[in-house]
């Protein structure tokens, strides 16, 4: 193989390398837009309690005391696996998944309930507000 052919091989491999590099950059750019898209799907809702905001990042959000829960509430009155929130068609639903102290929405003991904006969710001694996402808003 002469040097010209060798250069062509190297250029061809380099073109593929650059292409993959560009595609990886595109993937990272899509990550940002995908997050924005998710906020639209989830109607831009979040859970908040005094001084803390919990993002609702997937279609099934586990709330509990356990260290690996999506929304962790380190309080003995909260069960380790207390409640599960799910989204469908932009509508969030909360469901009790076998908690000991029960799940209350706006003061009413419930097993499963469709959530509306500004609903107050009570798990044990902890109170969470289900509200529109707003970074500036401080409760």
């Amino acid at each position: 193989m002469n040097s010209l052919n060798l250069i062509l091989c190297a250029v061809s491999a380099a073109a593929l390398d650059i292409c993959i590099f560009v595609l990886i950059i595109t993937a990272y750019r899509e990550k940002k837009s995908s997050k924005k898209n998710w906020h639209e799907v989830s109607h831009d809702m979040e859970l908040a309690e005094q001084g803390k905001i919990y993002e609702l990042g997937c279609d099934e959000v586990l709330i509990g005391r356990h260290a690996s829960a999506d929304v962790r509430l380190p309080d003995l009155s909260v069960s380790r696996y207390h409640a599960m929130m799910t989204v469908s068609d932009g509508v969030w639903t909360i469901k009790d998944i076998g908690s000991k102290s029960g799940l209350f929405v706006n003061g009413e003991l419930i097993r499963e309930k469709v959530l509306s904006e500004n609903d107050i969710i009570k798990l044990g001694n902890r109170r969470l507000i289900f509200r529109k996402r707003s970074d500036k808003r401080v409760r």
Binding site: I20, V22, I24, E30, D59, E60, Y81
Partner: protein, 430 residues
């Protein structure tokens, strides 16, 4: 939708440049008798690229990155397969690649709404049963293919996406525990274990031992996410128990494997170069012969070795295009499987599906490459997208459609499903 038009434009341009660079390399370095064959190949690849890149505009997706990676690897596959032995245009492989692209889009449309698929779970189990029956009735250890005219179908390949769907659709049922004697049992887990056992038995009966690790990897990925569902339920004890059971079964399998499998496990390819070690020894010689930049498209001798275009395709690409290019090909497939890590799925269903598909792709690729390089016994498993084979390519396309669906999911309830009326908040009742 179309959130990054500039990035998409440049991605399309660079995909085209990558393919054009390969075609230019063929023009100057390739082994061809008539320049027309290079022109036909080039036109076919560029037309396919443009058609697909224009076609995806009509699909409203949140993410298109997997489409770009898919068309990149498919174009590479068409070019590689058309150049083995002598530069020409492999029409059959080109058609199967188009089928692969269509299958990816069909799978994307089917899998993007997990609530729809979870409702149709029983049909997935029924489809697995039908494919298992077809495999048992129409195939044998001597012939794993069904011949329909000039086409051959390997039915066991179709079990892979169905098994992935079975793993993913049953994940949401992990909380439905039933008390049986003293144990809390999830019926779906038992059903899935049963399906896995049946598939493994069918593969053993068909003497298709190479596919076993692929199915086991799908099950392992599905099971790992299963015991982590919801996240808090993760149990180290269960995980260690599963690993221990797998190791025990592996040891028993190795101990009681058929004689020819035992022979393959212990064969010295260099002392049996004309027998069982023929393909692997030739593959290693081919890789060494190709060096970093290859001997040139169509100039390799591995095209004379049996299964050069599927079982030892990594070695054939290494010989003709060079080890650098073969490694870049592997890297492209690794990037495809890594996309769900860059942009994680928003549901357990899609997460499980992505993990299972990525595990299957990686294990298949590892088995093929390590087998070609004599790091493990030769298995005869194909490299996704690169190896020939209509069933393999179609299934790979269908599985990448699942990854696409996980990147652009839809969260909608089924229209025919009875919807619960939203309960008004107490403040409105007052």
């Amino acid at each position: 939708m179309y959130a990054n038009p500039i990035a998409y434009f440049f991605s399309s341009i660079f995909v085209l440049i990558a393919h054009i660079a390969m075609l230019v390399n063929i023009y100057f370095n390739g082994n061809y008798t008539n320049v027309r064959s290079v022109a036909v190949l080039g036109a076919a690849v560029i037309i396919l690229d443009i058609a697909y890149l224009v076609g995806i505009i009509f699909f409203k997706q949140a993410s298109y990155i997997l489409d770009f990676l898919l068309i990149l690897i498919i174009g590479m596959s068409v070019i590689f397969q058309s150049c083995f032995g002598e530069v020409g245009f492999d029409v059959k492989h080109y058609i199967t690649c188009i089928v692969c692209l269509v299958a990816s889009k069909a799978s994307y449309l089917l899998c993007r709404n997990h609530k729809y698929l979870q409702d149709k779970k029983k049909y997935i189990y029924a489809a697995i049963g039908i494919v298992v029956l077809i495999t048992l009735v129409f195939t044998s250890a001597e012939n794993m293919w069904i011949e329909i005219g000039s086409f051959t179908i390997q039915p066991s390949e179709f079990l892979k996406p169905l098994f992935v769907l079975a793993c993913a659709t049953s994940i949401a049922d992990q909380q439905k525990k039933h008390k049986v004697l003293f144990f809390n049992v999830v019926y779906e887990n038992i059903a899935l274990f049963g399906i896995m056992a049946i598939i493994c038995l069918v593969q053993v009966k068909s003497h298709d031992y190479g596919s076993l690790p692929t199915f086991l990897s799908i099950y392992a990925a599905g099971f790992l996410l299963r015991i982590c569902y919801p996240k808090a339920k993760f149990s180290k004890k269960k995980l260690f128990a599963v690993i221990a059971v797998i190791v025990i079964f592996l040891l028993i399998g190795l101990k009681y494997a058929p004689e020819y499998v035992q022979h393959r496990l212990h064969v010295d390819i260099w002392s049996d170069k004309t027998g069982d070690g023929y393909q692997q020894s030739q593959a290693l010689i081919g890789i060494a012969n190709g060096g970093w930049f290859g001997v040139g498209p169509g100039k390799g001798f591995l095209a004379n070795v049996f299964a050069y275009d599927n079982d030892i395709v990594f070695a054939t690409v290494s010989e003709e295009w060079g080890l650098l290019y073969a490694l870049m090909m592997v890297f492209t497939i690794v990037v495809i499987t890594a996309v769900p890590l860059i942009n994680p799925a928003r549901s357990y269903f899609h997460g499980t599906m992505s993990a299972c598909v990525s595990a299957a792709f990686l294990v298949q690729m590892a088995l093929n490459i390590w087998g070609s390089c004599n790091l493990i016994p030769f298995t005869g498993v194909t490299v996704p997208f690169i190896s020939t084979g209509g069933s393999s390519l179609m299934v790979s396309g269908f599985m990448i459609g699942m990854l696409l669906a996980a990147q652009s999911p839809v969260f909608k309830e089924q229209k025919n499903k009875k919807q619960e009326a939203p309960v008004p908040a107490w403040r409105w009742n007052e």
